[in-house]
Assembly symmetry: C3
Homo-oligomer: 430 residues x 3
């Protein structure tokens, strides 16, 4: 649990908040490249960390991310004209380049210098991994971009999607860190029965790792602080001399990856749109050196796996809180734990169900919440540190982000935190 005050400090990310200052030290994914596909194409509304912005791609293909409202008299630039290297306000024709500089002001006399004094709030934009990123913090603290493996693989080795979810970012991160819920929330009924039934364990699976995982529930969890964030290790009984470990990751300030994954890996970003809305990103990438198959990508596009099915032309989920995620109670009784289709939607049902901002003063945390507790502490401490003048290490360690979730065996008598098997298990190839 958290105090009511810490719960607020964790949740609020708007301008002027403590956590908002922390978030503004990191590069933030905010749109897919394909969301702003064309030079001089349609402007796109973006809300990020509680700020209302608009994105547009200029004539030479660069993307701008600027204040939604014109500096003149607050007209909405979403309705603006995306013209020769600038977004022009429809009200009086003021025009801005991607840096927010006013480049034309036809409503003033042609010899006026008023134009030179007008600077729209604008944030730098980079394209990487099929994603548009921005940095919203103080210029002097801007750092190189994080070197996630999925941003470094060839384009056809990756599939990325994102969708809105209607709750504060922090309870979404908690879901991403919390590995134990998978055997409940995301399970089919037979696997659930198996969990409660030692005798059947492992019999119907060719996956030897599954054998270790299901033998004992829950795993022993440990959280290790690193330069990028946290390694959350789950220890399962192995054989006489060694344990089976699974590692899921939390990269500051809002990325998570579960330990699973065979041919491919998957990770999330839970980007705060505003205090009560989150952009949930899903990054799937291949780790076998081969492109994702067309069939696989086609399935992901339809909303397979963690990728949510969204209403065409939007990033809003088809199955959402307003339709009870189209829960099928008959299916819940007989086939799946929730009766809700889709891993993401299953997560939404518990995360949105907590309310817009979960009231953490009422919680009762157990042994499976060790990673969550460590994450909250890291965010709250890092945010408080900025107020004291200390910048976060992780924001300045882009290369440390080159890790991926993994699993391995480690000798029972060894220190897992320093064992070479850990480093090997989470090392990125790209």
């Amino acid at each position: 649990m958290l105090s009511a005050l810490d719960n607020e400090r964790l949740a609020r990310i708007g301008p002027g908040t403590e956590m908002g200052a922390l978030m503004r030290r990191y590069w933030i994914p905010f749109l897919l490249t394909e969301d702003v596909p064309d030079a001089d194409g349609d402007p796109v509304r973006v809300t990020l960390l509680g700020e209302r912005l608009v994105a547009f791609r200029n004539s030479v293909g660069q993307v701008g991310l600027v204040d939604r409202l014109c500096a003149h008299r607050n007209a909405d630039l979403f309705f603006g004209r995306n013209e020769e290297n600038g977004l022009r306000c429809t009200y009086h024709g003021w025009k801005y380049d991607i840096d927010g500089k006013c480049t034309d002001m036809p409503s003033e006399a042609s010899d006026s210098s008023f134009r030179d004094k007008i600077q729209l709030r604008a944030y730098p934009v980079r394209e990487r991994g099929g994603v548009l990123w921005t940095y919203m913090g103080p210029k002097e603290h801007m750092q190189p971009m994080p070197e996630f493996e999925w941003t470094r693989v060839p384009d056809d080795h990756r599939y990325v999607s994102w969708n809105f979810q209607e709750n504060n970012y922090a309870q979404a991160i908690e879901g991403g860190i919390d590995t134990v819920h998978s055997v409940y929330l995301h399970s089919a009924m037979d696997s659930h029965r198996r969990l409660n039934d030692w005798q059947n364990e492992g019999k119907d699976s060719g996956d030897v790792t599954k054998m270790y995982r299901t033998r004992e529930n829950p795993p022993k969890l440990k959280a290790l602080e690193t330069d990028f964030g946290l390694i959350i290790g789950g220890r399962y009984p192995g054989d006489e001399t060694q344990d089976y470990w699974r590692f899921n990751l939390f990269w500051m300030p809002f990325y998570t990856a579960p330990p699973g994954g065979g041919e491919g890996k998957m990770m999330h970003a839970f980007v705060p749109v505003d205090d009560v809305t989150t952009a949930r990103w899903c990054f799937t990438w291949s780790t076998n050196g081969k492109p994702l198959s067309r069939r696989h990508v086609a399935d992901l596009r339809k909303g397979q796996g963690v990728h949510a099915q969204t209403i065409p032309g939007t990033h809003w989920p088809v199955r959402n809180m307003r339709n009870d995620y189209l829960i099928d109670r008959e299916e819940q009784r007989h086939l799946t734990f929730t009766g809700i289709k889709g891993t993401g939607e299953q997560d939404f049902s518990v995360q949105e169900g907590m309310g817009k901002v979960s009231d953490r003063t009422r919680e009762h945390l157990g042994v499976t919440d060790i990673g969550i507790i460590a994450m909250r502490r890291m965010l709250l401490h890092s945010a408080a540190a900025i107020r004291e003048g200390a910048e976060p290490t992780s924001a300045r360690s882009p290369d440390a982000y080159r890790v991926r979730p993994g699993q391995t065996m480690i000798p029972t008598d060894a220190d897992w935190t320093t064992h070479e098997n850990l480093q090997e298990a989470i090392a990125a190839t790209y």
Copy 2:
């Protein structure tokens, strides 16, 4: 009128409020038995006195009413699995019985005692009269259930329905107590004309009591405090030696019955869902010792009489504030006083029209409001008394609830409050 402060004290019923404490001394109807029909069936959302709860029927047919959110990390138990004698959270599999006790916690080690410390807020549930009741107050003040006649008749002598209405409970009770409005709000135009037209009085009706009622308008109203609440007597001129009296009733804390009814009787409960939403219950029962006819019940199910027509699968009225109750102005001009179909919907149009909480500082009360004034005083005094340590008598007088509305003749020179005809007129048969 009330002061702004008393208006707030009357209206607010959430945890920690004065009126909320009073309400929490009484058994409260919260769902129909048929709303939670099956053992291990679908959980049902319930909001009551501002508290978000979930109801479920366990494997042996008992109904639980517990906190909506899991004690672990606030996942919504509405999406839970209703399994062998418990509701299991879909997030990490914590399971609760109908008493809110955590009976399984698979996410913790099997030898952990953490489970024993977890107790979900839970309220006792009883089934009576086709209705599920709960008690939300301090255990030491829990009393036997009220002995309403409609709960005591055989099942096929009764029909019960309920619907939401979008205003504070108190202005709904006021409508239930206020008998005079019937000759306006609920009348057809010809009866209305008759009221204003002495000469036509009684000529077109075989109902002799109607003769007395329509001869003079309005009746003289008196309110009598009793162990169960209030008897509101309406006195009409009778013959030379006696008066015609009609009695409508207010049972604490939110039940009312109009004086009417021939072969059957009808009463209401106006249960506070939250400060601005009310569950309006309608109880129709036969007083002639016979079952209600199938035809009659079929009509009531369709929304006849006081039973509102609701959107199938919900308890929300078809004719509601968002569609102006489908008012037909042509019908209002020529046929009925309101042009709105349905007694209940006619009531909604005036009660919801007052706003979520009626501003009683602006009122101008007249002689017809004597019952309403007495009811407000009783609720406010009883609520204040609890604060002073005095428990309400009515909550401890379940047998006193065995009364029903009625009418009778009483000698003009007698004291109506002690006359045997009053007792006889309102005595329940069952």
Copy 3:
């Protein structure tokens, strides 16, 4: 820009506010005559200056504008019966005449004098120019109605419509005063190109005034205070000895007219419904002494020109903020500046886009905003003056309102503010 405090003072118009007091010194158009067409017809909901009211036409054709809620117990009089010279509450039959006097109270004894004490809030109503007007201020400050030309022409020389728009009134007035935006927001692409292209100027137009207007952009603006409000003069280069001037007008407290118009003129009222909603009125009238043609009126009814297309049976625009005004980006790229159909809807896109109340602390005003600055100052000063005991001159100068927008040539070396050509250009014929 304004301070945050002045922005609030400008925007808030409810009872008890400073600007609300100013607005309550003027006659206010609130419905079309045709919105309340029939004697004893349907009551109509009206919200004005934040007050919830209901309008009805009595048996002899007079219109009443009274409090929405009954004085008895707050029942909504919109559902009332409009009967023989009074609106009767459906709850207990209390009846009110157009002056708010209670004329029947059948729920009280017939010899009761309670009725005489009941007075519903009521405002005087006048019909003029096809429009219903009211005055909501202190009786002692009520003045004759303003003598707008459009109210004085024969009925078939005029067409009037109104629609809701979802923002504070002040930013709507600003749009009405701001003439410069027309060459951007309301222009087709070819005219826009022309603005940036001196060589093409005037070539494709037979309109000689357009030649002056487009030769230089922007015009030199001046604001002149008058007894009715403001004349905003725009000076354009003419020939060697004289300038071309265009005058648009601001009549206190919320009327504007653009300088354009050939055979007919057009003006607006932006009436505050509440703090965040505005009734935008459009008055089109003929100045050539002839009726508007049937064809012209038919087009205006469909939403041509400034008259917005509304959802049938309502005053809500078809193209609105919830559907992005049905913007057509392809059309925006190639044909029109906005891709939005309708002059009014183009205005809504910038005015509603500013937010419910524009944050004027962020503005950067230029030379084209001189009229807007003068208007804000006049409203704020006049409102402050009332607090000091000084009543506004304009409210007491109904004849000064007999002006219309216009254009003229004025010698370069003359004082435009006193030149007879100005007076002639804006003089009304009727």
